[in-house]
Amino acid sequence: MSEASATPSPARERLIVPAAIQAEIVAHARDHFPRECCGIVAGKDGAITEAVRLTNLEAGVSRYLMDEEEFFRTYWAIENRGESLLAVYHSHPVTVAYPSQTDVAFAFWPEAIYLICSLEHPEAPVLRGFRIVDGTITEVEVEIA
């Protein structure tokens, strides 16, 4: 079932992100600027079906903490309809789209791809994806389709 994550292939892992989902994540990041936004991405058999905006409980501009009750409800709604949590996303309002030390320290979900949307260059948002497993960051190729 999770063969792709259990058996790393020598080729870089790829995640196809539908253009509408990318646009939604960027819109969410812009709506929350200068604060970080966060949300989760559902899918089936590795194909993205939906991005869900969730509430960031952190008041500052450089942290996120997903509302745990919203996350719990949304995660099980996804599971109960036969889909899975493919990715988690958050924004870096003024910095690069690369996992921070905090992102690595709090990466408790190795089965998910961590998507980061950078608004460092506001007119050219960047969306990148990473696996963060036991403190090791591996980039996932994000292909917009």
Binding site: E58, S62, M66, E68, E69, F106, A107, F108, E111
Partner: protein
């Protein structure tokens, strides 16, 4: 804890536990398992008897819920109830989920 609510309830309840993806390595891939106990802590200990190691992922050494883990009873976070001492009854649904957090470089 000498919470009177929990000390009165000593009977063992059978509950369903919702296991999130990162903890399914312990349950052989099962997303929903049954367990028993009178409190959330007892349910997690019972789970650990069948799935060794899972308790350490959810609880601190003193039995309380880890800071970056959330446990729900019928959708209510036990931090707002009595933590690991929260009483459970037959048919309750216990949900476990890691916190999702991070941030940009300072």
């Amino acid at each position: 804890m000498t919470d009177t609510t929990t000390s009165f309830i000593t009977s063992t309840a059978t509950v369903q536990v919702l296991i999130p993806t990162p903890l399914r390595t312990y349950t052989g891939g099962e997303a929903k398992v049954s367990a028993s106990g009178g409190t959330v802590g007892e349910v997690i200990a019972d789970l650990n008897a069948r799935f060794p190691g899972i308790q350490d992922r959810i609880c601190e050494d003193d039995g309380e819920i880890r800071r970056f883990v959330n446990v729900f009873v019928n959708g209510q976070n036990v931090r707002k109830l009595s933590g690991a001492a929260t009483a459970v009854k037959d048919g309750d649904e216990i949900g476990v989920i890691p916190a999702m957090a991070g941030g940009a470089p300072a």
